[in-house]
């Protein structure tokens, strides 16, 4: 299958105010292919967001190489990365991050404002189609503050997918939702991503979410290790709680 993103020996180091160096990521190797559903689990402060920034072309590594669709991105300008990001990457955030004061439809239109050609000119139609796919076409004109948490995240998913990105990055997509709504939203994200043939990388510390992935990695103290995908809740042998311990136990078992 076509390789979408690959990270080879990637490190990320920041200089602290006292001139000391903090190594956030250490020698990360990761390859994501078209259609993959990958979960990255780990505790807070483990470098998950930094890794997400690198995969999403929002940041550059200190050393190592990142390739996007086979092309190295280390030397691309900020604007070239922004364009590549707009065309190929869709983000789903923990706090939904819908633009306040704009209707659900306007929010879904936003990424299309940065598209070229028919993507821009047909923006309204494309956005409506996408809202329809997440089951919110009837709520198109409603402002985000009038939508429930689940609905807001569905709008965010529609927005992330409206430009048909090759890669969807979801940062704790269910973090602000109750367990049940979270599962519904995750199932939707999984289905829509599969239908679109997009790769999905989910960063989470919720084993229920990680259980939906086909591959799972654990990021701890800047080191990324492949682990077994946690079992879905309800299947024999699976943990019932959605805690870090469950993830840890499962990952530990696989390591």
């Amino acid at each position: 299958m076509e390789e979408l993103v690959s990270l080879t020996a990637v490190t990320r180091t920041v200089r602290l105010p006292d001139d000391a160096e903090l190594h956030i990521l250490k020698g990360i190797d990761l390859a994501v292919h078209a259609g993959d559903h990958t979960a990255i689990i780990g505790r807070s402060g483990g470098g998950k967001s930094t890794l997400l920034n690198l995969i999403g072309l929002l940041d550059l590594p200190s050393t190592g190489e990142i390739r996007f669709l086979g092309e190295p991105v280390n030397h691309l300008s900020n604007n070239a990365r922004a364009r590549l990001r707009g065309e190929s990457v869709g983000f789903v955030f923990q706090q939904f991050n819908l633009l306040p004061g704009r209707s659900a439809l306007d929010n879904v239109i936003t990424p299309l404002l940065y598209a070229k050609g028919s993507g821009f000119w047909r923006r309204r139609e494309l956005a409506m189609e996408m809202l329809d796919r997440v089951g919110l076409s009837a709520r198109a004109d409603v402002l985000p503050n009038m939508l429930s948490g689940g609905e807001q995240q569905r709008v965010a998913i529609a927005r992330a997918l409206v430009r048909k990105p090759r890669l969807i990055l979801a940062d704790e997509p269910t973090g602000a939702l109750d367990v049940e709504t979270g599962q519904t939203v995750m199932a939707l994200l999984d289905t829509v991503a599969t239908e679109s043939g997009s790769a999905l990388i989910t960063i989470t510390h919720d084993s229920n979410v990680a259980a939906l992935a086909r591959a799972c990695y654990r990021l701890e103290a800047g080191v990324l290790t492949a682990v077994d995908v946690p079992l879905r809740p309800g299947t024999p042998g699976a943990e019932t709680s959605a805690s870090d311990e469950a993830v840890g136990a499962s990952a530990g078992a696989g390591a």
Binding site: N53, R83, R85, N97, L99, D106
Partner: protein
């Protein structure tokens, strides 16, 4: 093409969403622009008014008054020959003799003394005389059998406001009983009640009519109109020239126009302009203040947009355009306010009482106001736009 349209669409959407906040910021800018434009427009009006009345008195910039003084009066024939020589040698296009006289005129209700300005046709150009009816003297008027008169409004009223197309005549009182033709009417120089009638008559015609110039003990003057840049050098050359022709007497060539000591309004304009500039600065700071606060407030939103592919130029242009478009609109409103104030007839008549016809609202004042508004918008937009561009996407999203 798509890039440009989409940038405009996005900026318009932003304007629409933030209209209340932008409107509030713009009231300040619109008022500042109105203040700036009003001050410049009024300054211009005052200057025009002053210039018009000064030009009627002392001539346009630069007018040189020539004269030769001594223990005895110089020979008039020799003097006028000397003046003619100067005119030819220095290529002077417009010149005039100016002397004052007083003469009785027969009006329907009796004889009245009229103040006569005895001049040449060039006087009309040098003093920018504007006639209300009829016309100013032409060179050929000197040859008329009946002398031509350009009379003041008071004179015209006393003569019963005859129709000028019928060549109305008035009679000069005295032994000769000369008949003169009124060819033009000018406004009274100082329109106050009881103003004595006055009239202009050509030098040649006055001689023929037996009008004695040099009333009030004032000798005749000779005025020439020269280019501003040449005034100083001509002044020196002509003085020396005359001095040589009239040894033992004192020759003079002085500037009599309003601009002879530099622009009398330069200081006032500078001071008023400075104040207007400060007002504008206050408006700009207010605008900048609001823009800065909103960018801080919008950091997260900018981060979200950037995660969806907005380039830094796009973010910069978006924030900037919002500011520039908005202040341009405020500028137009401000200029309209200023025009309404400055072109108000009551204000016009108070500010420039010397003017009979008010100049149109100065275009440069309107352009200055609009330009200042757009500049303020660009400056007030540039700083927050730079802040917006420097936002780190992930930090911004978690803001």
């Amino acid at each position: 093409m798509t890039g440009l349209v989409s940038t405009i669409v996005e900026a318009w959407q932003e304007l629409r969403i933030n209209k209340t906040r932008i409107l509030l910021a713009l009231i300040g800018v619109a008022l500042s622009v109105a203040a700036l434009t009003t001050v410049v427009g009024m300054g211009n009006l005052v200057r025009e008014g002053y210039k018009a009345s000064s030009e009627r008195n002392g001539g346009r910039s630069a007018t040189l008054n020539l004269g030769v003084y001594g223990p005895t009066m110089p020979d008039p024939e020799k003097l006028s020959q000397a003046y003619r020589g100067i005119q030819e040698r220095y290529g002077i296009k417009y010149s005039t003799n100016v002397s004052q006289a007083q003469h009785g005129f027969q009006f329907p209700n009796g004889v009245q003394d009229v103040q006569l300005h005895v001049v040449d046709p060039g006087y009309g150009v040098i003093h920018r005389i504007e006639v209300d009816h009829g016309s100013w003297f032409a060179d050929s008027d000197e040859q008329r059998f009946a002398p031509a008169l350009v009379v003041s409004e008071t004179f015209y009223n006393a003569a019963g406001r005859p129709n000028l197309t019928t060549d109305p005549v008035v009679t000069l009182a005295g032994a000769q009983k000369t008949t003169a033709v009124i060819i033009g009417v000018v406004p009274d120089q100082y329109p106050y009640p009881g103003m004595p009638p006055s009239a202009y008559m050509l030098t040649g015609a006055a001689e023929k009519a037996g009008v004695t110039a040099g009333a009030y003990g004032m000798s005749s003057q000779f005025e020439i109109w020269v280019q501003d840049a040449q005034a100083e050098s001509l002044q020196a050359a002509i003085t020396a020239d005359l001095q040589q022709q009239f040894p033992g007497m004192e020759a003079q060539a002085n500037r009599g126009d309003y601009a002879s000591h530099g622009d009398p309004f330069a200081m006032v304009q500078l001071a008023v302009g400075g104040i207007a500039g400060l007002v504008m600065l206050l408006g700009a700071v207010g605008m900048l203040n609001i823009s800065m606060v909103t960018v801080r407030y919008r950091v997260r939103e900018i981060g979200i947009r950037r995660s969806f592919g907005a380039t830094s130029q796009r973010v910069f242009v978006g924030v900037m355009m919002e500011s520039v478009v908005a202040t341009a609109v405020a500028g137009v409103v401000g200029v309209m306010l200023a025009v309404a104030v400055v072109k108000n007839p009551w204000i016009e008549s108070k500010i420039a009482p010397g003017l009979t016809e008010f100049p149109p609202f100065p275009l440069e004042a309107a352009m200055l106001g609009l330009g200042a508004a757009i500049l303020v918008g660009a400056l007030a937009g540039a700083i927050p736009a730079l802040v917006a561009v420097r936002v780190k996407v992930i930090d911004a999203i978690r803001f």
